[in-house]
Symmetry: C2
DNA sequence: CAAAAAATGTAGCTTCGACTACATTTGGAA
DNA sequence: TTCCAAATGTAGTCGAAGCTACATTTTTTG
């Protein structure tokens, strides 16, 4: 039995309007890329945080990571196990967490990018508190091309 | 029995280095904010896509959303059900999806912000394809302050 | 050194977004 | 008007990320 609600005037595929020219990849491909960014985001924030803690204190404890990232220690422990699998960190039971060469390299790359994004936001006039907040999310969506443009801007306005 | 691996030289809380001045919220608060951004991201991309489809075709079908967002139609159907609960869209079985006033308002806001971010990236010299990709992710991490700064930059360099 | 506190580990739960496979409905074409 | 392809719905699975509660180990402290 058909639903008693009035159906829309145009019922089916209503003569798609002519597509405006799309230069880059299509929308679906772009959204796939965003989801990839997000799947890599956690690992990046973890190694960045671990590197910072090691710099500060010579070691990164799970509890420090939990505090810094604002999650429970369980979440940290489980994520760190995956980072071990992925070869970014080493970890022994009841001991601190350390970076592998691969982890150090990723941390270095992410830290540089993070600082570039932050400096760029400040340079275009974003207030410090907002810049620090936004940089933490934006950094994971900055392509090499955009990073290049940000560096260019910083160089021009130095 | 203690593990036979040598323990780290400094065993516990090793005299935390003096904190450099932190103006804004602490790291944990920032990361909470990012996770909030991400929890709102899907709804924003959906209403934006729905609005675009309605503009083009007078209605948004689940299959069109699936194509545009690069996910299966099941993912769309389930997310749309949650958007209905949240009051952003209306949807009858086997019919198209429409925006509520609330949904239209959110879509409008997101579209404007999206276009500002895109225009800004282009204005600072990011190649078009990269700008389009990056804007899709960055848009969700742009605070009102940063949006304001972007608009200021665009106004100054027009 | 023994007890208390802190850190870590483990078990089990929830939500969300993604998927495949299959069932049902709809709308247009034969 | 019947039939078929397309669209939608439904059931069930999975992995990631979050949580609480409780067990175990380590480190600090009395
Ligand atoms: Mn980050
Ligand atoms: Mn993001
Ligand atoms: Mn987006
Ligand atoms: Mn968008």
């Amino acid at each position: 039995m058909p639903p008693d609600t009035p159906r829309s005037t145009s019922t089916r595929r209503p003569a798609a309007a002519p597509r405006r020219q799309a230069a880059g990849p299509d929308a679906a491909t772009i959204h796939h890329g965003i989801r990839r960014d997000h799947s890599e985001e956690t690992a990046q924030d973890y190694v960045e945080a671990i590197a910072a803690l090691i710099q500060q204190s010579n070691e990164a404890r799970a509890v420090d990571l939990a505090r810094k990232l604002g999650v429970s220690h369980v979440t940290v422990v489980r994520r760190v196990a995956r980072l071990v699998e992925q070869g970014y960190v080493t970890s022994e039971p009841y001991r601190a967490i350390f970076l592998t060469d691969k982890g150090r390299a990723l941390a270095e790359e992410c830290t540089v990018r993070h600082e570039t994004v932050l400096a760029f936001l400040l340079a275009v006039g974003v207030p410090a508190a907002a810049a620090e907040r936004d940089a933490e999310g934006i950094e994971h969506h900055v392509s090499p091309e955009t990073l290049e443009a940000m560096n260019g801007f910083l160089k021009r306005n130095s």
